[in-house]
């Protein structure tokens, strides 16, 4: 490789990018491994406190929220994909569906609604239904909040499926529903996988709505778990850092491993509509 101005600039840019995005995370990991009294000193820890990770993870202030997040995410994501698939298919492919632009726009508006603006009434509804501070209540809420997003990503994927395949099935007299379940869904597995991953990440990261519709370890997810270290007990920044890192590991791992598919899924949604 020849050394040119282009290569030097590229190298500098790459280094700056890595420092800007991962410096802060690296620093947080470093803090999480330091003895608490060294949190305010610069430099490597005098000894690495790896056991803090066990301690924080297994503490009764954290582990219930971590498990809740798994329950909530694994319960809500399949619901979302199940509810969103037929709607996305109708929007993407039914030429005879006159109002589909309007329906699509309605779902986009609902997708982009600031959650804090409707959280108050969701709280009232769940309280009325007796679902306040329960996992079913959170799952129900998240299913509603993120279904429009799944409709968006799925419909953009379905639009890319070759029309000939479904036309052949239509000529054979198959119903729309059986085309969806027997033809479209099987060949759209990559798109469904991407939507599932994206929903998983969105749900795992959600904080504000969960904060308003839950109160105890019954249903609080891990995004709130990262906070409980503050307020109830004396503030230990090393533990706050550890909790933040543990809470992020699942989504970070998924995002890193599936990055190729996430990029494809998101860019398809943005480019194809």
């Amino acid at each position: 490789m020849r050394i040119s101005l282009y290569n030097i600039l590229l190298l500098i840019a790459v280094v700056l990018i890595v420092i800007f995005y991962f410096g802060p995370v690296f620093w947080t990991i470093l803090i999480s491994l330091k003895p608490e009294e060294e949190v305010y000193s610069i430099g490597l820890p005098s000894k690495f406190m790896f056991d803090r990770y066990y301690k924080v993870l297994l503490s009764d202030r954290f582990i219930p929220t971590f498990l809740n997040s798994f329950k909530i995410t694994f319960a809500a994501t399949p619901f979302i994909v199940l509810l969103a698939s037929p709607a996305a298919y109708a929007i993407a492919r039914f030429r005879e569906f006159k109002g589909r632009t309007g329906v699509f726009i309605l779902f986009l508006v609902l997708m982009l609604l600031p959650h804090v603006a409707i959280a108050g009434y969701i709280y009232s509804m769940l309280t009325g239904l007796g679902l306040y501070d329960t996992i079913p209540g959170v799952v129900l809420t998240y299913t509603g909040l993120f279904t429009p997003f799944a409709i968006w990503t799925l419909s953009s994927y379905f639009r890319g499926v070759p029309k000939e395949i479904e036309e052949a099935a239509l000529v054979d007299g198959a119903s729309r529903l059986s085309i969806l379940t027997r033809v479209i869904l099987p060949i759209s597995l990559p798109g469904i996988a991407v939507t599932t991953i994206l929903c998983f990440i969105l749900i795992w990261s959600e904080f504000l709505v969960a904060f308003t519709i839950t109160l105890t370890y019954n249903a609080r997810p891990v995004t709130i778990g990262t906070l409980l270290f503050v307020g109830l007990y004396e503030l230990q920044w090393s533990e706050v850092a550890t909790a933040a890192i543990i809470a992020t590991i699942p989504v970070l791992a998924i995002a890193f491993l599936a990055s190729k598919y996430i990029i494809r899924g998101l860019t398809t949604a943005v480019i194809r509509g």
């Binding site: 305010y40 504000l208 943005v270």
Partner: protein, 294 residues
Amino acid sequence: MRKLSLTLTPLFFCLPAFIITFFILLVPLLNTLYRSFLKIKIGSTEILGLVGLGNYINIINDSAFRVSFLNSLILGFAGALPAVLVALLVASVCNQQFRGNRIILSLIVAAWAIPPIVAGRVWKILLLPNGLISTIGSYLGLCERSYSILGDPNFALVSVIIASIWKFSPFATLILLGGMRTIPPELYEAAKIDGATFYKTFRHITLPLIARYFNIAILFVSMYIAATVDLVYALTGGGPGYATEILASYTYKVYFLQQDFGRGSATSIILILWALISMGPLIYFISKQMFGRE
């Protein structure tokens, strides 16, 4: 019969998604609108009477609201534009052919996946007095090591802006990168044969062809920044005073901390109106791409 099924089938397909979004999103939206015209007893849902625009007038006269409105404006512009410019740089770098560009891209996706509440915590730790950033500042002779950056009203807002850029630029990067990948490689090859420099290629091929994605990215990011309470909550809690309060976090405070459902609903509606300003063109772009070619 055939005609009827043609109309009914799409509705039948959309019904499940309609029902759930109707109850979780539309009903709360309409009820929030309704509640915004009511006087509701603080700390309860007991309706004391219809006050028309009373709640709105009440809020507009609240100085904390005006500060948070201004801060949302500042964040929407001073946060979104640099975030998308950073994203443009990162996307251009990732779009170059070099060993390791896949890994950089995977790191960007990982950065996108970091929950906003964690992003707030990470930056809080960086910005603590005697923390990393004030220490670097003290080496450069800018401040004392013990200087509390988040305790200073001016720098607290700058900190929120920088943390927002950090959190939201990866998403913009993915949008821009998607746009860059729609550009036919032949264009670049032709430019190379003509001897165009890197800058000229970027200026005359890449930029014009990704302009639409640049707009989409700006709209998305300014909307996320203005609507995300998590990051502000974890980083500054809106303080010191109201220095970093934004419309979204102010809404949260009025509704849930002051437990004033009437005024809280009115702020919610103002926030939604605010979001509609970015939402309008964004939805126009997206739905035009979805149905435009038919």
